[in-house]
C-alpha cells in the first residue's frame, strides 16, 4: 500500500486528535493508581472525614474540608462574579457607545491575561485589607451572631479568596456573554420594542432569555476556572488544615483542594502516604471538574434543548 500525502495527513491528524483523549485518560489513570494506597487505608473516610495528621506513625488524611472549601470559594466567586460579568456584557452591547465599548471590552479581556500570582500578590498586600475594613469588620460586627458571618482574626480567609476568584472569572464570563448577547438578532429587540417594552424589559425578558444557554455556558467556564484556580487562592485563603478548615463562616481561614496541593506537595516524599494523599486530592479535583462540565453539557442539551446552536 502506498502512502499518499492525504493518507499521511489523515493518520497524523487522527493521532494528534486522539492524543487529547489519551492525555486525559493517562492523567486520570495515573492519578487513580497513585491514590489507591490512601483510599485503601482510609476508605470512604478519605472523602468524608475531616481529620488531618501528617506526623509519621499517626498519619490521617481526610479531605472533606478542602472539597467543601473548593465549592465554597467557587460559589462565592460565582455569586459576586456572575452579576458583575453580566452587567459588563449588557452594558458593552446594549448601552455603551462604540467609543466606550471597544476599549472597555479590550480591557476586560486583558484582565484574563494578568497572571494569577499577581492577583495573589495584590490580594495579599492590598485587597485583603479592603475586604477586612469594608466588608468583614462591618458584617461581623452587626451580623456576627449568624455562624456564616462569625468573626475571625484573619482577613486571609474564604471570602477574600472567593472575591479574588470572582475578579479572575469576570473576563471569562463577561467576554463570552458579550459575544452571546451580540449574537441575539436585532429583530428580536425590535419586536420587543414595538410592543412597548422598555430597554430594561428588552434586556432581561428578551435578550438574556434568548442567550440563556450561551450565558449558562459562559458561567460554567468561569466556574471551571474558579474550581481549579490555585496560586491566588493558595496565597489568600489562609491555609487552614484539618477540621478547622471546614467552611462554616465566610471569614475563617480555609483551604481548597488546589491550594492544599500547592501548599503541601513539596514536603512529601515520593511513594509516601502523604504523596498518595495529594494525588487523591488531584483525582477528586479532576473528577469534580469533569462532573461540572458533563453536567453543564447535559443541562444545555436537555433543559435548554440546544440544537445546532439555536434555542428552541
Amino acid at each position: 500500500m502506498k502512502l499518499t500525502g492525504d493518507k499521511i495527513f489523515k493518520i497524523s491528524a487522527t493521532i494528534i486528535a486522539t492524543s487529547a483523549l489519551a492525555i486525559l485518560l493517562i492523567t486520570g489513570y495515573t492519578l487513580a493508581v497513585g491514590s489507591v494506597p490512601v483510599i485503601q487505608k482510609f476508605g470512604l473516610n478519605f472523602f468524608f472525614g475531616q481529620q488531618w495528621n501528617p506526623i509519621e506513625g499517626k498519619e490521617v488524611f481526610n479531605i472533606l474540608p478542602y472539597v467543601l472549601g473548593t465549592l465554597a470559594t467557587s460559589g462565592i466567586a460565582l455569586l459576586i462574579g456572575v452579576p458583575l460579568s453580566l452587567g459588563i456584557a449588557v452594558f458593552l452591547v446594549e448601552m455603551a457607545p462604540k467609543s466606550l465599548s471597544v476599549p472597555i471590552s479590550y480591557l476586560v479581556e486583558l484582565l484574563s491575561a494578568v497572571p494569577s500570582v499577581i492577583y495573589g500578590l495584590w490580594g495579599l498586600f492590598i485587597f485583603q485589607f479592603w475586604m477586612r475594613d469594608y466588608i468583614q469588620i462591618p458584617l461581623t460586627k452587626y451580623l456576627g451572631w449568624i455562624p456564616l458571618f462569625s468573626s475571625s482574626q484573619s482577613s486571609l480567609n474564604i471570602f477574600t479568596a472567593g472575591a479574588i476568584l470572582a475578579i479572575m472569572i469576570i473576563p471569562t464570563i463577561a467576554s463570552i456573554s458579550k459575544e452571546v448577547i451580540s449574537a441575539v438578532p436585532n429583530s428580536i429587540r425590535e419586536g420587543a420594542y414595538s410592543i412597548g417594552a422598555t430597554k430594561w424589559e428588552v434586556i432581561h425578558r428578551w435578550v438574556l432569555s434568548y442567550g440563556r444557554s450561551g450565558i449558562f455556558g459562559a458561567i460554567i467556564l468561569g466556574l471551571g476556572r474558579a474550581v481549579g484556580e490555585t496560586m491566588a487562592v493558595a496565597m489568600l485563603i489562609g491555609n487552614a488544615i484539618g477540621p478547622v478548615a471546614m467552611p462554616i463562616s465566610l471569614f475563617q481561614p480555609g483551604q481548597t483542594m488546589a491550594s492544599l496541593i500547592a501548599n503541601g506537595f513539596l514536603d512529601t516524599t515520593r511513594g509516601s502516604l502523604a504523596s498518595s494523599t495529594y494525588i487523591g486530592v488531584g483525582l477528586t479535583l479532576l473528577f469534580i471538574s469533569l462532573i461540572i462540565n458533563v453536567g453543564a453539557h447535559v443541562v444545555m442539551t436537555r433543559v435548554f434543548k440546544v440544537k445546532g446552536g439555536a434555542v428552541e
Partner: protein, 277 residues
Amino acid sequence: MMTTSSIAKEENISQLKPLQQETICPTAKMQAINVDAWFGQKQILKTVSLTVKPNTVTAIIGPSGCGKSTFLRCFNRMHELVPNSKMTGKILLDGKNIYDRQMDPVQIRRRVGMVFQKPNPFPTMNIYDNVAAGLRLTGAKKDTNLDDIVKRSLEQATLWDEVKDDLKKPGTSISGGQQQRLCIARAIALQPEVILMDEPCSALDPIATAKIEKLVIELKQDYAVVIVTHNMQQASRVSDYTAFMYLGELVEFDETSKIFENPKNKLTEKYITGEFG
C-alpha cells in the same frame, strides 16, 4: 462670496425641497409634518409630510433606499433606536406630537403597533406567550383576561383555527406566513390605534401574501394601517391612499386610484409604469 458650485447646490436644494406643509388636518389619525431624518451625516428623509386617515390603508411605495421604511419607523419612534439616528419635524397622533418631551415612546409604541419585514416571533416564547407578551409588560392592565385577548387577537389575525391546538408550541415552529400573522396578532393584542407594516410580505410566498393582504383590508375596520411595500400591485390591491417616495422625498400622495390611473407627477408615472425602480 459664493462659488459656482455652492450656487448650484443652493438651487438644487430649492428645486428638490417640496412645499412645507404646516396645516393640521383635524380628521387625521396620524399626520407627519415636515419630517427630516438622518443616519449620521446621511439625510434619509427630506421634509416629508403625510396624512393618515382613520380606518384606511395608506401605502408607501418607492424604489429601494428611498427612505420609506425609515419614514414608517418615525411613526412609532423606532427610528430613534438606531445609533446615530436623528429626526426633526412633527408626527401627530390624534393631534398631539408624539415627539413632544412629555410623550413616552413606550406608550406611543403600544398605541402604534408594528409588523416587520421578516416575521420575528419571539423564539423563546410559545405562540400564546408571543401574543400575550405585550400585555404582560409593565403598564398593562392587571385585570385583563389574557386568554380572551389572545384568542381574539389570533382570530382577528385569521390564525386561530390553524394554531388553536398548538398554543404551547414555540412561536418559530409555524410556517413563515403563519409567523407573520402571529406578529400581526401580537401587535393587535395591545389594541393599538394604528398598525405600521414594513414590507410584511417580502419574505412570504404568494399564498401567504394573499392571506396577509386580505387581512390588511379587514384590519382597517378597526385600525388605521400604514403599509410600506415595494410591490405596486400590492399597494393598488390593499390601499386607499398611496404615497410615492423617491430619494427621501415624498413625490406624490393621493387616493390610490388617482395615483395609479392618473398620476400628476411624471416621476410617479414612470415608476408605476415600471420604467425604473
